[in-house]
Amino acid sequence: MNEYQYWANDPEEAAVPMDRRGFLKTTGTGIFLFFKIRDISFFTQEGPGRVAQQNVPSDFNAYLKIGEDGRVACYTGKIEMGQGIVTSLAQMLADEMDVHIDNVDMVMGDTDLCPWDRGTFGSLSTRAFGPSLRTAAAEARRVLIEMASEQLKVPVKDLATEGGAVFDRTNTKIRTTYAALAKGKRIERHLTDPVVVKKPSEFKIMSKPLTRRDAREKVTGKAQYAGDIQLPGMLYAKILRPPAHGAKLLDVDTGEAGKVEGARVIRDGDLVAVLHKYPDVAQAALSKIKAKFDTPPANVDDRSIYDHLLKVAPGGKVVAQAGDLASGEKESSSVLEQTYLNAYVAHAPMEPHTAVVKIEGKRATVWASTQAPFGAREEVAKELGFRTEDVRVITPFVGGGFGGKTAHRQVVEAARLARLSGSPVQVAWTRSEEFFYDTFRPAAVVKIRSGITGKGRISFWDYNVYFAGERGAPHFYEIPNHRTTAYNSSWVGAEGAHPFATGAWRAPGNNTNSFARESQIDIMAARAGVDPVEFRLQHLSDAKMKRVLQTAAEKFGWKPAKSPSGRGHGVALGIDAGTYVASIAEVEVNKGTGDVRVKRVLAVQDMGLVVNPAGATIQMEGCITMGLGYALREGLHFKGGEITDLNFGTYEIPRFSWLPKIETHILDDENSPPQGGGEPAIVTMGAVIANAIYDAVGARIFELPMIPSRVKEAIHKG
């Protein structure tokens, strides 16, 4: 077994490099089923960079192989970074094909073996890729039955499948196996027509909880991440970094570094690096380099950023509207105008960006921690001047991504240094490089004007979001007059907006938008003197959302009360990636220090068909736990382009002692298509805690993170 391909079964296959056309020839005998993601709109609506429609391959973007050994493999450009698709996709495949799950291999994120895929983000693997995978698997099963019918001389209608075998229902001794059917053959099918997939009542593997299939490698230390790839002659590179974004290298003295035994200093324009066979020695040598930088003056910092953003905001784009704001305002007995802020937040995956690049002649092989191997391939090809098909990107296990590993600076650096040095090179960022070059969740501002009538109905809603992105911006309440406007409608800022790079961060845009919307709804509920659950129900017509909220209230044991009730209970709703979420939290606030202790978080979600209930539950728990961070502590400190949080000493992320009691419930909705699971439950975390704080102490927090000093100040203001 190729040690880098945990899910590949065939060593030959994993080792042989192939280009996109070539792999059709070199994948050997077996039955192949090529398919593409059915709903192409998923690919063009969001994600890193912009991909033109014509770049999306129209023939296929994944395939199945039924091998002579009876194993079934799915080749896909999607990657596993902890979200669990290595398990849930295999469940779909095994169930639809009637093979044992242990006989399923997932070959993921290898650009030579797998057809083009845009990347793994946006909770798309299950909701967009999953249905296509299921139809392909069902079609493969149909093809196998047809072949068996011919071979066994039994009509198709009498044949059934189980455990990788086809048999005659009327005489089960008449049987053959997928392995036997595939033997010595090369059959290719393209999935074109719609295929009937199993009904939920027929599921044997889907919708049943299954523990992670990659757990054994991960608990034994055998799982390899990009930094664990060691090649003969490989050198570790440590790169000279500027003190701030925008700083220019004026002068550099590498003399002392070059004297370190075994160290190679490389300078190519602004790129100054030390290479050594040991990463720590390279790092020590790098620290001997004396460099002078010209750092531009810091015009903005973590306090002044919001004014700056409002000043440079581009014109707005209306993303939703109805009715007439002015007439809504006229009907209002009270009008509320609020501004909500949130700081830059780091992705901070435990595995920093890492890449290994090996160049042989005109071909390069890359091992990278990436969410978008095909994007990385293109960048490397461009950097090296190679043809795209001469670059192979292999994605080993990825140690967390959350949107941050769709950027590939480290891959390009490794490629450049491999070319310059003539040796295979590994670039593994330190934690401070990871902070410095992160594509942060953008600092953002939301301004809302809204009103309620004397009868406690929301009369108008004027919602304006700056720089967060429009995902999650439109509300889902019954409001007759409303308008939602996005200024800079992506999480990537316009030129000059942010002092460093920003990008997609787990449920991009939606964390900011849900914090603002659900806080404002709560303020109106309090103004109307109505219980916040009741107030929401009064303004919801969507049956799905109502059911989610009602279930949450019931499971939590919610007792209606006007907020602030002093109990510290808060509620918030959200929709993300097609999934509906209701969260309820209980907090305790120390009035003296402003410290907030989250004691309990309950989340209910409707995500349509659930492929792996165990995996979905873990994702919800992960969302809740991670969400505590941006709600309570995570806010990047910086002065201009200088990032002053460079490790976990000052940038605090959630830890065991923060852990509330977490309860999760997934509603039964198996007849609806599957929706996203890796992101939704995080979007409500800001508001649910803010609302619970208000309920506890009557103080409203308008800025994330809700650090103790901020909470204390709000309490004192009254």
Binding site: G82, R212, Q224, Y278, P279, D280, G400, T625, L659
Partner: protein
Amino acid sequence: MEETLRFKLNGKPVSLTVDGDRLLLWVLRTDLGLTGTKYGCGESFCGACTVIVNGEAVRSCQTPVKEARDKEVVTIEGLAAGNGLHPVQKAFMEHDALQCGYCTPGMIMNAYSFLRKNPAPSVAEIVEGMDDDLCRCGAHKRIILAIQAAAKEMHGGL
């Protein structure tokens, strides 16, 4: 300064000529090829680099290799005998106490050393014992369950 160091690594004697001031993490990962031990922060904040030296969990990113001289070092690769699994590893698998898995070796090594000292911990004690180990994926709830289960399974014996 290069020196020859001898110590026991995962039950086997090793002899190594290295600069004793180099950090154990990198010597394990590169010179000795044991990549199960991870780098997460390099400054003692995260615990991804945790290994056991003479029964104590240490952060290998802060430990000069010379401190291992004549001692017994155990890494994630050597926690279980042969191809088997240690009860802590098994509990992590059974409770899905991991997502991306990058923090997992460090979590398991720290949990192992913690359970040696406190074989029947309360949840509060587990939280305290694990609090300096970071997991960005948010597997915390499951890790606590796994440690409780492992404690039960081991009945106080390791």
